[in-house]
């Protein structure tokens, strides 16, 4: 059976970065002067983080980022990747789909409503997208029946390589 190798560690590191950036953006949402960012006609973090679109039903988007990366970080722990509990893998997949849906909305808002790009936010968007790619492509494996159960000395027939004809 194919096994996960680099995915758990990579997603864990990406989640750590995403969480750190979300904490920073949450702080700067409430204190714009703490924001260190390039500012010109295209890139302007303050314009984005202080815009009406920086809140959804009164909740700062940066805090929604926190609410995304905290569980994502937990779900991307190596032990969670190894578990046979199917709901863990489903939850990770659903969370990553939610995240990528959110970044599509936020990119739309930046491009067409706020008309400025926030570099810090973009870095979080990139991280969220990479997480989605890794999790989505690993999901067929981790959601397969029997994943995570103890290995035996026997493997299913399908794993036998076609290395020759039977005599």
């Amino acid at each position: 059976m194919t096994t996960l190798r680099w995915q758990p560690l990579t997603t864990l590191l990406l989640s750590v970065y995403g969480l750190g950036a979300s904490i920073y953006l949450t702080i700067t949402h409430f204190d714009a002067k703490a924001l260190a960012c390039v500012s010109n006609s295209t890139f302007n973090c303050e314009k984005v983080t202080q815009s009406p679109q920086s809140e959804i039903i009164g909740i700062p988007v940066a805090m929604l980022g926190l609410a995304f990366f905290v569980p994502m970080l937990v779900l991307c722990l190596p032990a969670m990747w190894r578990t046979s509990q199917r709901w863990v893998h489903l939850a990770r997949l659903v969370l990553s789909i939610t995240g990528v849906g959110m970044i599509i909305y936020l990119i739309s808002a930046e491009l067409f409503v706020i008309k400025a790009i926030c570099l810090w936010c973009s870095s979080v968007h990139v991280v969220t997208f990479i997480l989605f790619v890794i999790i989505a492509t690993a999901s067929p494996l981790v959601l397969a029946p029997g994943y995570g159960e103890p290995e035996s000395e026997w493997e299913p027939d399908a794993a036998v390589p076609a290395d020759g004809e039977l005599s």
Partner: protein
């Protein structure tokens, strides 16, 4: 290789094939084995632990897994296509630049009257009650500002397109009216395409304050007229003098202003009251002025319970306290008022 053949009907698993030693399963046999339903472990000839009873056939599982991989990569491709489409649409639409702007015109008399005659009782009722207003930066030990040979002085640096300047001007116009008389005040609106688009406001270009207490100098660096072919750029209006540039460069730096510039660039608006009180950026959110005309805004300034009044006059009281510090408490009617005293106390400065 007979050793690799399984007993018929066992449903068990084959031992792991050895990588070397030759021989193995034929593709035909493998296919047959793979399509066989799994019956559970412990079958004849098996002995190993097999998939769960009732599990899917291996081939079906493999096919399902392959489908899952296709769906996953399809979803990834879909996301890439959507994001790429957003950027393409943006790039295409950006070519149709919005060149509209609100021209600068003489301020309606009613607007000037409303802003320059706010009752002292309203100033005092508001005080510094709007806690969402950013406090300015207090400096100490700096030389008093001299503009055109006069001191004390107050310097404003902004631009007509700038929405944060638009918000700040309402507070400045109201506060400075307590220390002198405005002439040639004009009205305009911020950029039609920037954030907080078309925020209605004054322009200080060409306006002057006649005051016996403080010298006020306003520099509107840019108009709100977009430059064709350069989105986000506006035509130049007024440059600071060399002396003003030196003041701006010095006090907008990170040495004096928390999170100030370290590369010489200055954010609009920047207000320096006698090198002792610095306002950088909007003190309150321009969003509260969204969609309101000049008369809508000025007409609300006599109501101390109105959120616009609270934001504008809280900012104005901070500015008044800074000016009072510079004028050593002159005029007393303004500087000893409870609103100004409350602002001075909040800033830790003396307004009298």
């Amino acid at each position: 290789m007979a050793s690799n053949q399984k007993s018929p009907g066992t449903g068990g698993n084959t031992p792991k094939p050895k990588p070397a030693g030759g021989g193995g399963q034929s593709a035909k046999d493998k296919s047959r084995a793979a399509s066989r339903p799994v019956a559970g472990s412990g079958g004849k000839g098996g002995g190993g632990k097999g998939p769960k009873p009732g599990g899917r056939p291996a081939a079906a599982g493999a096919k399902s897994s392959r489908t899952g991989v296709y769906i996953a990569w399809g979803a990834v491709a879909l996301v890439i296509v959507i994001v790429a489409a957003l950027f393409i649409v943006k790039a295409t639409s950006s070519n149709k630049q919005d060149l509209s702007y609100t021209p600068v015109t003489a301020a309606p008399a009613q607007v000037v009257h409303d802003v320059t005659t706010i009752p002292a009782s309203t100033w005092d009722k508001v005080g510094v009650s709007d806690t969402s207003v950013s406090k300015p930066t207090v400096l100490s030990g700096q030389p008093a500002m001299t503009i055109d040979g006069k001191t004390p002085a107050m310097l404003y640096y902004g631009a007509e397109y700038c929405p944060y300047c638009a918000a700040e001007r309402w507070a400045m116009a109201a506060a400075l009216a307590r220390f002198g008389t405005w002439s040639n005040l004009q009205v305009t609106a911020s950029s039609h395409t920037d954030v907080d688009a078309s925020t209605h406001t004054f322009s200080f270009h060409g306006a002057s304050l006649d005051s016996q207490y403080i010298t006020f100098k306003a520099i509107e660096q840019y108009t709100n007229i977009p430059v064709s072919g350069s989105p986000g750029q506006y035509t130049n209006l007024q440059n600071p003098t060399k002396a003003e540039s030196q003041i701006l460069a010095k006090y907008s730096s990170s040495k004096y202003l928390p999170n100030g510039s370290s590369n010489g660039s200055i954010s609009f608006p920047f207000v320096d009251i006698n090198n002792a009180l610095l306002f950088s950026g909007a003190s309150y959110d321009p969003q509260i002025l969204a969609g309101l005309s000049w008369t809508d805004i000025s007409g609300s300034l006599s109501d101390p319970t109105n959120p616009i009044t609270q934001a504008v006059l809280t900012t104005g009281n901070y500015m008044s306290a800074g000016i009072c510090q510079a004028t050593h408490g002159q005029p007393g009617s303004v500087c000893t008022s409870s609103g100004v005293q409350a602002a001075a106390k909040a800033l830790g400065i003396s307004a009298s």
